[in-house]
């Protein structure tokens, strides 16, 4: 085995095909897209170089800025929601439900396996105000309140999207964080309890610091996933009303495939990639600093 892995030609023969397929399927489109950022035109009429015009357009395009603002707002709110609620569930599994948590874990995890479009259609019906009144508005009506056109205003539509995505993903973060909390040695928890720590103190000084690595991993997972939100918004609101719930991904899709402007669409995609990289680097650095302090 050593002689095989020590032979460069053998390594190349083993890795070459996989590397080639990976390069063709993943790397070539990425660099192709990167190249498009310096071109204008379409695949029908052909492309002509336009220097940095697409980047100038991005920084002067009010729709791009509003899409960026929506993306960041959504990512922050959803990351906080997913991780905090997921963490709360994880604590409940470990400290209150203990071995009986399997059924609850399965139930909370269930929405994760449902197709996004199916969930979106379900919630569209829940929040419907016309032509028929959905259960949410029905409940409001039973309290004597008038129906709310949830999808008719950007603010209310935003909170519906947030509610749907938290419901859909909290089970995943609950299980992920539960795995981190389970890893905390029981003797540390027991000894801290003997020392008088319980409730908030136990959480603040023992559980939270010891589960910090998995917590930060969850934040990185969540922020990167939410910055790239697409399917749930497309299925729930299609970016509307107007462009009130249009994230960068949807704007990129519309620009490239509806408006046929591949150059500017690729520029939006590049900006989103840079945003994801910056956020990830920032969180990694914050994590490193915290660990050093500890």
């Amino acid at each position: 085995m050593k002689s095989v892995l020590g032979d460069r030609r053998a390594i190349f023969a083993l890795l070459g095909p996989a590397l080639l397929v990976y390069s063709l399927i993943v790397m070539v489109p990425i660099f192709w897209s990167l190249g498009y950022t310096f071109f204008t035109g379409s695949i029908v009429s052909g492309f002509t170089p336009n220097g940095f015009d697409n980047f100038v357009e991005f920084f002067t395009d009010p729709t791009a800025w509003s899409a960026l603002a929506f993306t960041v707002k959504y990512a922050v709110v959803l990351t906080v929601g997913q991780v905090v609620i997921g963490y709360a569930f994880a604590l409940m599994y470990h400290f209150y439900l203990k071995r009986a948590s399997a059924i609850i874990r399965t139930l909370v995890f269930f929405p994760v396996v449902l197709p996004t479009v199916a969930v979106a259609l379900l919630f569209q019906q829940f929040f419907q105000s016309a032509p028929t009144t959905g259960p949410v508005n029905g409940f409001l009506n039973s309290l004597g309140l008038s129906s709310v056109d949830w999808f008719g205003h950007a603010d209310s539509a935003f909170w519906v999207i947030v509610a749907v995505d938290i419901w859909r993903s909290m089970g995943f973060y609950a299980v992920l964080l539960y795995a981190g909390i389970v890893d905390i040695p029981d003797d540390i928890v027991e000894s801290s309890r003997i020392d008088g720590a319980s409730g908030w103190k136990l959480l603040r000084h023992i559980i939270l610091p010891l589960s910090l690595p998995v917590l930060l991993s969850s934040v990185i997972f969540s922020i990167n996933g939410t910055l790239k939100v697409f399917d749930s918004v497309l299925a729930l609101t299609n970016g509307g009303p107007g462009s009130g719930t249009t994230p960068l991904t949807l704007y990129m899709y519309q620009t490239s495939f509806t408006y046929g402007d591949y150059g500017y669409g690729s520029t939006i995609a590049l900006m989103l990639t840079i945003l994801c990289l910056l956020v990830t680097v920032f969180i990694f650095r914050a994590q490193r600093r915290d660990l050093t302090k500890a």
Binding site: V28, F31, W32, S33, L34, G35, Y36, F38, F39, G41, S42, I43, V44, S45, G46, F47, P49, Q128, S129, A130, P131, S147, D149, F151, G152, H153, N238, G239, G240, P241, G242, S243, Q254, T255, F257, T258, Y259, G260
Partner: protein, 436 residues
């Protein structure tokens, strides 16, 4: 440390340069040049249609077995479909590879059709048909040339739809309303209906176009049939007071409650359902909706209870109530790279027979001349057929000459205009800006 950083930089810079050059070459190598087909065309008469439309493929298949059997022998018909939501993307990709099929659904986006024409990706139908062009209705030709620019046709009009307001005769009679002939009369009728607890107009705010059609028609009635061509040519702007007036008029109608609650949540089926079950007195729609009207399972108010009225005039306006808003639905186009003498024979046969066959087979009114009108056509279909045959010039719709981005912005914001979240000026400014 500095040496290490310099060394790393020395390795990164050439790598970035190589990657960058490769990326530019990759992106730049996509070509827009057209390829010409062989003398007889492709081996098969390939049809690519949206999976949401089976009418065209059905009629073509019927023709291949009867009227166009000899053409089918020389170039056999082959039918394929693509998802309706991705037609434009598919056509763009095929055109970019010079692989458009012999005949396919045309793009629903006029600006994309212009790109196909300019890049010589599709066949000039006027030249290909020659004398057989006389089989196209004048009104259909008028729409096609307005959409494509110039004087030649590049699509075959497999549908011809007139648009207007369909109304419930019983609701009008019960509330003492006569058919409105002016915009002011329409607003007054809406107010009267609303006061009586009847929803005046049902509209698909989710897709937006039934609302923006009202803006476009108001502009045509007020400013004349060429008003939106002037915007395209740059001699007028949507933000000019004369154009903003139209958006304000529709906004005022909506804020008065004419479209009912939560218009932004109503989709096309919801709109149809509200009208056909008596939930609303009026609906702006095209004549393609006749298929729904003729279906007793959907139409519970009865076919005799529905009538068509043209979009009302605007008092003092330059346009005429006789200008009929129309469109050619989902036309078909011919790929230049698959074109040849066999394909030409096929489309001449289609031009000569499509009108009769589409009307007899599915009750579809097309943009081709009809020589044998079936005697058993439903009453409303006869009304539409007569109106189409009598129409010589037609007006387009609000977004017909817009870019894809303007179209999206217009239709996505229509419901916000109708609910008062946007003023007419804000709406028109957004649409105007999207075109720059």
């Amino acid at each position: 440390m500095i040496t290490t950083a310099k060394g790393r930089l020395g390795r990164i810079v050439p790598a970035v340069a190589i990657i960058g050059t490769g990326a530019l070459l990759l992106a730049g190598c996509a070509s827009g040049s057209a390829a010409s087909g062989s003398a007889t065309g492709s081996a098969k008469f390939d049809y690519l249609g949206a999976d949401t439309n089976t009418e065209i493929s059905t009629v073509l298949t019927l023709m291949s077995k009867d009227q166009c059997s000899s053409e089918n022998t020389a170039q056999p018909l082959s039918v394929g479909t693509t998802p309706g939501t991705g037609v434009d993307q598919k056509l763009q990709l095929l055109a970019g590879q010079n692989a458009l099929p012999a005949i396919s659904t045309a793009s629903g986006t006029p600006s994309l059709m212009t790109q196909f024409v300019e890049a010589k990706k599709i066949v000039n139908i006027t030249e290909a048909l020659g004398d057989e062009s006389s089989n196209l209705l004048p009104a259909a030709q008028s729409i096609i040339t307005k959409l494509c620019g110039g004087s030649d046709s590049y699509v075959l009009p497999t549908e011809f739809n007139i648009e207007g307001i369909w109304y419930n005769k019983k609701i009008f009679a019960d509330n003492g309303i006569t058919v409105p002939e002016t915009w002011d009369a329409l607003v007054a009728a809406s107010q009267k209906l609303e006061a009586a607890g009847v929803q005046p107009i049902t509209a698909d705010g989710k897709d937006g176009w039934p609302i923006t059609r009202l803006i476009g028609n108001y502009i045509f009635r007020d400013q004349g049939a060429d008003a939106l061509q002037a915007v395209k040519d740059g001699s007028a702007k949507l933000t000019d007071a004369a154009y903003v007036k139209a958006a304000d008029a529709v906004a005022a109608l909506g804020q008065g409650g004419a479209f009912g609650p939560s218009v932004g949540s109503i989709d096309y089926n919801g709109m149809e359902n509200a009208f056909l079950t008596g939930g609303a007195a009026m609906m702006y729609n095209g004549s393609w909706t006749l298929a729904n009207f003729n279906d007793p399972a959907q139409n519970t108010i009865g076919l005799d209870n529905i009538a068509y009225m043209p979009f009302p005039a605007v008092t003092g306006g330059k346009g005429s109530i006789d200008d009929t808003p129309a469109n050619i639905g989902i036309p078909v186009m011919l790929g230049q790279s698959s074109y040849g003498t066999n394909t030409q024979a096929w489309i001449k046969c289609i031009a000569a027979n499509y009108g009769d066959l589409a009307l007899a087979n599915g009750g579809v009114v097309s943009g081709f001349k009809v020589t044998n009108v079936p005697t058993d056509l439903p009453a409303l279909t006869q009304v539409v057929q007569a109106k189409v045959a009598a129409t010589t010039t037609a007006t387009l719709w609000f977004e017909a000459l817009f870019s894809p981005k303007q179209t999206t912005v217009s239709q996505n914001n229509a419901a916000l205009l109708a609910t008062g979240s946007l003023t007419g000026e804000q709406f028109m400014q957004m649409v105007q800006d999207a075109g720059q």
